[in-house]
Each structure stands twice: as C-alpha cells, then as structure tokens.
C-alpha cells in the first residue's frame, strides 16, 4: 500500500516563526484524512505546502513516490484539487464558468471545452446542488453558495487527491453533510484520497478514517480515529476537558466538552 503523500522532516517559517516544525508523515492512499488543531497551529500552511502553493524551507514532500517539485504545474493540477478556506472574486463570471475552470488543467491552449468536459461540469454541479444557479453570477451569491460552487469546481478537476481547507466553514449543516458525503463517496467508491482541515472535531470524527492532530507546527498524534481521538490527545492539543464516546446514532466517535 503506497502512500499518496509522504512528508519527511518538513519545515516552514514565516520570518522567524516556525510554522511547520519537522513534520514527518505518510498520508495513505484511499483514505479520508482529517487535520485538526488550534488556530495558528500550521494547518493551512501544511495545506499550502501540499498544494505546492508554498515551498518548504526544509524537508521533502513526495506525491505517489515522486518529489512534489518534479511535477509540472499542470500535471500537479491533474493530481491535486483544492477547496480553499476563503474565496473572493470581483468579476461577474457565471457559476457554470467558474465550475468549468476546474477543467482547465485538461484543456490544450486555445481549444474550448469538449462535450465530455460539459458533461462532467453538469454532473458535479448537480451533485454539489448548484445546478439551479448555473447561470447566476458568482458575485451575486452568498458566501455559503459561493463555497458550494468552489467545491463543485474542485470536483470538476477530477483529481486523485482532494484537499479541503475548512471547506465547509460557511455552510449550513444540510450542505455540510451533503458535501462531506460527496467527498467520502469519492474515497470509498473511487479510491481517492481526501485531506480535510476541520475546525469542528465532531465533523472530523464522523467522516475521517485517519486523524492528524497538530499543535505549534508539530504533529501531536496521528493514526486511525479510534486510536488517536482520546481525552488525552484533546487535552494536549486544545487544553480542554473532553469525553470521547461512540455515538450509535451517528455511528461514529463523538466528543463532548466540559464547560
């Protein structure tokens, strides 16, 4: 079982502040990985490094056994898709235009979208529940609606790896469940790898196979959810008292916190 990503002694600093400090980690292929940790612990920087939006100051990332740096930009965009935390656009593209941008890594220069591209775009818009607003302008949508469009855009990219950086932070619970179910379906059905940064520990526990706990730029715990999601870990990472139990209704580990 080869890993989708292997991180080795990864380091990254902003000025003098170490944001990622000697992180080594395999991310197994075909699993839903959840990254959790307090604000400013380096989660988003880790995501930036995985997408090669930032370059590490030390260490190495390998994707499918190959150094991340050896991929061309376009090749990498056919490997990894990203749903960012914040998304802001000033120009009135239609929702369909934006989702179609997900097909860019596959289009030769100057050639338009093929019928197959249009098919994929229509399918993911239906799945992400944005088909009804296909002709509306992205600038006129609410932030939650925009986030769903961007999610659809990432699905249209149709990559083996999908990275969600707090991708559901602006959504109502109905759409959170729907989009995370879509991501989980890609993992179970298509064997894709999803790496998601979560703020809500219970969402992470409900959907993820593996959890990665980060604090101060380091990995505190990493492994199967049922092995690492413990009161001890939560104490160490978030400095809170918590109870971890298996909830039969959710059919997952859940956490409640002491006031």
């Amino acid at each position: 079982m080869s890993a989708a990503f292997e991180l080795e002694h990864l380091a990254f600093s902003f000025a003098d502040k170490r944001v990622i400090d000697d992180v080594s980690l395999p991310l197994e292929r075909g699993k839903f990985h959840g990254v959790v940790g307090p604000n400013g612990c380096g989660k988003t920087t880790l995501v930036d490094l995985l997408c090669r939006y930032r370059l590490p100051h030390g260490g190495d990332i390998r994707c499918n056994g190959m150094a991340l740096g050896s991929y061309s930009k376009k090749r990498l965009a056919r490997e990894i898709a990203l749903v960012p935390q914040n998304f802001y656009i000033n120009f009135p593209f239609t929702v369909r235009d934006v989702v179609m941008m997900g097909r860019y890594p596959y289009l030769p220069r100057f050639s338009g979208a093929s019928p197959r591209d249009a098919e994929i775009v229509a399918a993911v818009m239906a799945e992400a529940d944005v088909a009804g607003m296909a002709d509306r302008f992205i600038t006129e949508l609410s932030s939650g609606e925009r986030q769903r469009v961007v999610f659809a855009r990432a699905l249209a990219q149709d990559t083996p790896v999908l990275i969600l950086d707090e991708a559901t932070s602006n959504l109502d619970i109905g759409h959170v469940m729907r989009l995370l179910a879509l991501a989980a379906q890609r993992v179970r059905r298509d064997g894709k790898t999803v790496v998601g940064v979560f703020q809500d520990i219970n969402q992470a526990a409900a959907w993820c196979d593996h959890l990665i706990f980060m604090a101060r730029g380091r990995i505190v715990a990493h492994g199967r959810a049922r092995e690492v999601l413990t009161p001890g870990t939560l104490r160490a990472v978030f400095d809170v008292d918590a109870k971890v139990y298996h909830d039969d209704y959710a059919d997952a580990l859940q956490v409640v916190f002491k006031k």
């Binding site: 902003f14 000025a15 930036d48 997408c51 090669r52 939006y53 930032r54 930009k73 376009k74 090749r75 990498l76 965009a77 056919r78 990894i80 898709a81 990203l82 960012p84 998304f87 802001y88 656009i89 000033n90 120009f91 009135p92 593209f93 239609t94 235009d97 934006v98 941008m101 997900g102 860019y104 890594p105 289009l107 220069r109 002709d135 509306r136 302008f137 006129e140 609410s142 932030s143 961007v150 990219q157």
Partner: protein, 355 residues
Amino acid sequence: MDSILRSDVKRRLRNATAIQLVVLTVFLIGALVLSTGMGFLNIPAAAVVKIIWNKLTGNQALIADMNEIFPVVVMDVRLPRILTAALVGGGLAMCGVVFQGILLNPLADPYTLGVSAGAAFGASLAILLNLGAFGLYSIPLFAFVGAAATLGAVIYLSSGNGGGLSAGNLILSGIIVAAILSAGISFLKYVADEQVAVIIFWLMGSFASRTWADVALSAACVAAGLAVFLYYARELNLMSLGSQMASSLGVDTRRVTLVLLTAASLVAAVCVSVSGIIGFVGLLVPHSMRLLAGPDNRRLLPVSLLAGAVLLLGADTLIRAVLPAEIPIGVLTALIGGPFFCYVFRRQQAARRIW
C-alpha cells in the same frame, strides 16, 4: 424579478461578442473616415476614402480632379494624429483590462502601478535636459525607460516570501513609487525654468502633430501586446479566482503575473510616451465593456481594444475639430470620464447586495 430579467439580458449580451466586435469595427472605421474629414478644412468623406485608397493602390485617377491640398492634409496631418489617438485609446483600454485582471480589482488601471508616473518622469527629464541624442525618439525612449524602471522597482518592493506579487502588495508598492515620482516631476518642473511650459503641456497629453513614426511605434506595441494578452487570456481568467486557486488549477501565477505586468506596462509606457498622460480610458473602458461583454478576457480584450480606440478618437476629434480652442486631451478625458465614472461606481455600490 427585475434583477433576474437584467441578468438574462446580461447573459444574452455576453454571448453576442461577434456582433459587438463587428459593430465596433464598423463604428471605428466610420469614425476614422468622418473625423479625417472634419477640421479647419472640411473634406468630404468620399474624398477621404478616395485618398486613402489611392495611397493603398497607387491609382492616381482617384485624386486627379481633387483640391490638391486635400491629400496632403489627410495623409500628412490628420491621419497620423487620428490613427495614433485610436491606437493609444485601444492600447490603454487593453492594458486596463490586464491590470484589473492581475490586481483583482475592477478599479485598477495603468496608473495604479505608477507606470504612467514613471513614463512621465522619464519624459520630463528628457525635455528638461533637452536630450536629442536619439532624435525624434528621445522622449518616447526616456518615457519607456522610466516606466520600465518603475515597474522593476514596484515588482521588487512587492515580491517577498510566500505571497509575493500579491494584488495588495503590488497596489501598495505602486502607490508608494508613484508618490515619490510625482514629487520628482514637481522638482523637475521647479528647476525647468523656461522649459516648464513644455513639460506641463506634455504631461496634460496631446495628439497634436503626431507623425507616421508615432503611428508605427504605437501600432507595433499594441499589436504585440494584444498577442501576448490573448495568449494568456485564459490564465488571466483563472487568476481572477485568486492566486492560490489559480495555482492549484495549474497556472504558473508568478510567471503569468510577471509576463502580463511587463507587457502591459510596456504598452502603457509607449502609449504615454507618444501622447502624454491620458487618464480614465484604461479605467472606464474595461469597466463598462465588462458589463457588455462579460468578464471573460478572451472576449473582453478585443472588445475593449476597439471601444477604447473609438472613444479616444472621438475625444480627440472633439477637441481638434469641434471645440473652439484645443484643450489638452488628458484634461478632457479626466473632466468627462471622472464624473461619469463616479456615477457608474456609485450606482454599482447601491445595487450590490450586502451579506
């Protein structure tokens, strides 16, 4: 209901790019012929067409029975000026599209990055020192060098660790550099003595007494610019999602930003160098054409190019042939374009929904 209707109209407009391009081209050709006929000496449109056709084909019969001053006025006086005005208008509008796309800001233009200020500084210096070493081309050359150096400084200031060349960094650096340069221009004016009038008039912009050399220079730059911009038009579309997203979609954002910024700055520098400072064309034209053609740069670029050409040609004809005295064109575009822009901007703010 009203807004849904309006959206529908906008969508239909966007899909009519071919029609827009044809209409604008016809408009531009019509405006070229008509304005060439207008002026102190009135020349009928038919005669203008005959003269141009004569030049193109060498058919002397066309101008045989014509007032012999007409061909001279058309070919040596009016056409160079008119074509330069159209080319500069198109060039500035096109640069506006690119600056707005890269800086993620519908209100950016060739002035935002200080490029025009750099060109103005270079030209003022050339005028002040009375540099004639490169003949006719000294002022354009100095303007160009000034713009290029400014762009270099702005890029150097705004590139750093990680989020280098971000839109916010570029705009801030542009403002800082432009402020220094405008103080520099003030200083040059202060020490210029009798040449101060030349500098001031140059800075206010004018197409008076342009030559075929100006036409050739601006045509070459606008054509080269258009080719580069169209080549990267799709990347520019993706960049409007933000550099992180564009990067994750496989766009080499750093390279595209550098290439497009350099090309747009150089086109803007050449425009400024042949005409002086002409504001609001690069701001207003892309902004209003976006309402017509939509934000897709593959359509917006050619539409803005033609609209900018028509607009500046019209404005130049107005001051040349209609108004009693020839006021500087930069003053006219700012006086008309500024308030119009305020109106458009205000209306958009009012219509924008707040979440």
